[in-house]
């Protein structure tokens, strides 16, 4: 009986070169999985500490595997959203949209994104004298209304 289960890797049109490429992608994927596992171990242990609990190894491995699958799914989603918008480059809004299943989560990400936006102008552009003058001008009318 056939199901819609994904086999994970794209089906090649046969031939040796395709098999080689598939092996390469599998090796790359394995390497990335290991790197992700290391990151998950550190994030998981520090988070569990704050909760005053310990995590067993199989749980961490499971979460790392899930995180990898989530990352893959996220990659596919944001690529589709960007293409749908006629862009080649994925931006923050695409990522935020990919979390649409949970309103709370989306809100958290929007706040995070706002913070990022707020930080960038300070580090990238120098505050010019004109900008400072404009800020002072904005304050004056409010005082006059009082």
């Amino acid at each position: 009986m056939e199901t819609l289960g994904d086999d994970g890797i794209g089906i090649g049109s046969g031939g040796e070169s395709d098999k080689e490429r598939q092996e390469e992608t599998e090796e790359e994927a394995a390497l990335l999985r290991d790197r992700l596992l290391l990151s998950v171990i550190s994030i998981a242990s520090s988070h569990a500490k704050t909760l005053g609990m310990t995590i067993s190894e199989p749980v961490v491995a499971c979460i790392a595997d899930l995180a990898f699958k989530q990352a893959e799914q996220m990659g596919r989603d944001v690529e589709l959203f960007a293409q749908h918008a006629g862009r080649k480059s994925v931006n923050m809004e695409d990522v935020i949209l990919s979390a649409h299943r949970n309103e709370h989560l989306m809100g958290l990400l929007r706040d995070f994104a706002q913070e990022l936006k707020g930080k960038e102008p300070c580090t990238e552009r120098k505050r010019t004298k004109k900008a400072l003058k404009n800020e002072n001008k904005v304050q004056e009318p409010i005082e006059m209304l009082d």
Binding site: L36, A71, V78, E79, S98, L116
Partner: protein, 99 residues
């Protein structure tokens, strides 16, 4: 204290996913455009900007944190202070629906 994923790692995973899809798409195009005189349109690979990667890292971190927090609640309710696979099992369906 705020630990997070490495944006480069997430970028690498995305690139892997995108190149897989690209190969699929190119494969399909090849079947249709066989008659053309070498005018194969190389679909430019998708890219991501730096802030998008940071937000993705945050999203994945929230996923991991949420998984641990929910599983920890179950473990606490049982009076155990080690998070076991059975605890994770019970929170998995709702977790995957939320993300």
């Amino acid at each position: 204290m705020e630990e997070n994923f490495d944006p480069d790692l997430i970028h690498a995973i995305f690139k892997l996913v995108w190149s897989r899809r690209n190969k699929k798409v190119e494969g399909n195009q090849g079947i249709h455009l066989e008659g053309g005189a070498g005018t194969s349109k190389k679909t430019r690979a998708t890219t991501a900007n730096a802030s998008a990667l940071k937000v993705s890292c945050e999203l994945l971190r929230l996923f991991v944190a949420e998984a641990i927090q929910r599983a920890a609640l179950i473990a606490e309710a049982e009076g155990i202070d080690i998070i076991e696979p059975t605890h994770l099992e019970r929170v998995l369906p709702q977790l995957l629906l939320d993300f």
